[in-house]
């Protein structure tokens, strides 16, 4: 029998606020355990939550950027369960009336037609703390609880079960990742858990219209693992059914070392979260005016920008896609073309030399030692014939190393291109005199040796001779 996988993703997006969602503690990553806590995030008796306004603003941005409706009056609810990393014994989340509802993203896998993936809802919630087991400085036999992360603001983005393959899931996830990082509301760091994904996976016989029982896979913290985990889980479920078994609804943990999923014992107990509106928080009312203000402040989104690069700058689709892969890269590109209007050249250099050098040195575009204006200065020198493209690469490397301006390097190292025909002619004469045999060969019809002469001239000029001038003069002279 053939099976149709059905996949829905629940993505937790950690928001880039300075403080937690319900208290003023810092959200900084990597501090001493429990040092960033207060009565509120410790869940001490008597402590009360107060909502961070920026979290609401970020949620609205995320909602507008994923085609969601913003709920005019939304409320917070308590999700009740006991766990040592959950200080209050309940998580403040949203249940009924989440802030964003009914959105979508259009995705394209491998150049296929666009497919619309529904977004059921986006809601705000607080993160739990962190549990550690058997670490040296930690709790020995037992587990240790660190509440620095408790109460950190999250958005949970819940997709419809519209995804059918692991590739679709990854494409959707990457697109969502791009949007939240582009908006500057999340740092997108999957390793540190700033962007986490749970996948709901089920399979059903092709042609069936009844969804199979789903398993929820947790702890998939890279795009690669998402693909692996989903593929493993699909096969596991198919094998199970083929062997006459049945899929049970459960939470499974992905193990990146083995690439498999396993049942989570701790989550086996029947869930009865007893959601109810949190009486400590008041309703959140978002006016049309507030939504409009947020919309005005939204940056141009990757899709719009990509289209503009193609329409206005004439970039090919591939270039436009690469240059809009992050907002910082697209901003860099735009700053570059503002200083030097040759978009194709600026684009090529960013996709070529800049990207290569960033990768080699492990730097991000934000920290690129060559600023867009400096790159533009270099490209100007090529386009006005001051240096050759080949020399430009040498200059680029020096700029990267020293931070000096292109013009300075060219002057200091005497790299200005030689276009003076007199100077080039005398080099040519010298080389022809020293290689009479090759001159004869050329003149007898072996035009292939032309390349030899070009190489010799360039070598003699230390690469500075203007190649087109060299070509023209050589041609005339060799013809005799």
């Amino acid at each position: 029998m053939k099976y149709q996988p059905v996949i829905g993703l629940e993505v937790h997006v950690q928001l880039l606020t300075d403080t937690k969602i319900f208290c003023g503690c810092s959200t900084k990553f990597g501090s001493e355990p429990n040092s960033q806590t207060c009565p509120v995030c410790l869940g001490l008796p008597g402590a009360l939550p107060v909502l961070n306004k920026k979290v609401v603003e970020f949620a609205i941005k995320a909602g507008l950027s994923t085609n969601c409706s913003i709920t005019p009056r939304s409320i917070f609810a308590r999700k009740n369960y006991f766990y040592p990393d959950l200080p209050k014994g309940y998580q403040i989340s949203q249940f009924e009336d989440p802030i964003c509802q009914r959105g979508w993203l259009d995705i394209a896998v491998d150049g296929d037609a666009l497919k619309r993936i529904g977004i059921t809802r986006i809601h705000m919630e607080e993160d739990a703390g962190k549990l550690v087991h058997g670490e040296l400085s930690g709790p020995g036999d037992g587990s240790g609880v660190d509440l620095n992360r408790a109460c950190t603001p999250l958005l949970e983005v819940v997709s419809e079960p519209d995804l059918r393959t692991s590739d679709e899931a990854v494409t959707y996830l990457k697109q969502l990742h791009q949007i939240v990082t582009w908006l500057g509301i999340c740092d997108g760091n999957m390793e540190e858990g700033s962007f986490r994904c749970d996948a709901n996976v089920s399979v059903m016989p092709v042609g069936s219209d009844t969804l199979g029982t789903r398993a929820e896979i947790k702890n998939v913290n890279s795009f690669k693992f998402v693909k692996q985990a989903i593929e493993y889980e699909i096969q596991r479920q198919i094998d199970l059914i083929e062997d006459g078994g049945t899929v049970v609804q459960e939470t499974r943990l992905f193990d990146p070392t083995s690439g498999t999923t396993r049942s989570m014992r701790s989550k086996e107990e029947a869930h009865d979260y007893r959601y109810f509106p949190d009486p400590d928080l008041v309703p959140l009312v978002i006016s049309d005016e507030w939504i409009e203000r947020s919309r005005q402040k939204l940056p141009e989104l990757p899709e719009e920008r990509r289209q503009r690069f193609m329409d206005e700058l004439g970039l090919p689709l591939y270039d436009a896609e690469v240059l809009t892969s992050s907002k910082a890269l697209a901003d860099y590109f735009e700053a570059g073309i503002a200083a030097h209007s040759n978009a194709k050249a600026v684009g090529n250099w960013i996709m070529g030399e800049i990207t290569r050098s960033l990768n080699d040195s492990g730097t991000t575009i934000e920290a690129c030692p060559i600023r867009p204006g400096q790159l533009a200065e270099l490209l100007k020198l090529i386009d006005n014939g001051t240096i050759s493209g080949k020399i430009a690469k040498t200059v680029f490397d020096e700029m990267w190393r020293s931070g000096k301006a292109a013009q300075t390097i060219v002057e200091e190292q005497g790299l200005v291109q030689v276009s003076d025909s007199g100077a080039i002619e005398s080099i040519i004469d010298e080389i022809m005199a020293g290689n009479a045999g090759q001159v004869d060969e050329y003149r007898s019809g072996k035009e292939k040796v032309f390349g030899f002469f070009v190489g010799q001239v360039m070598k003699a000029s230390k690469g500075k001779a203007n190649p087109s001038v060299v070509n023209e003069l050589l041609l005339n002279k060799l013809k005799g």
Binding site: G24, P33, Y83
Partner: protein, 95 residues
């Protein structure tokens, strides 16, 4: 309203309470009596009535995203029944 010991056990598990058989029987009887009394609400027509979460109408209570000092590690852990280094220590959690 009838409340069985099994009902009481389910609720006690959710609430993380350990009850003796005597307590379970006592609670089954008392909760049954209270829930029986509460049944009177069912006779009241509440169609179209909006539920009240807050008696005083309030909305949009915010704080700005400005850091305020944490209470510090030692104060945070001062009441901990058990600690290990900078952590609250608990019996091993099996995931």
């Amino acid at each position: 309203m009838e409340m069985t010991v099994t009902d009481v056990e389910y609720v006690a598990r959710l609430a993380r309470l350990e009850l003796s058989l005597k307590e379970k029987e006592l609670f089954a009887g008392q909760m049954g009596a209270i829930l029986g009394y509460v049944e009177k609400l069912k006779g009241l027509n509440t169609d179209g009535i909006v539920p009240t979460s807050h008696a005083v109408p309030m909305e949009n209570s915010f704080r700005e995203d400005i850091t305020s000092p944490s209470i510090g590690l030692e104060k945070a852990l001062a009441n901990a029944p058990d600690r290990a280094g900078s952590f609250f220590a608990v019996p091993k959690v099996i995931e």
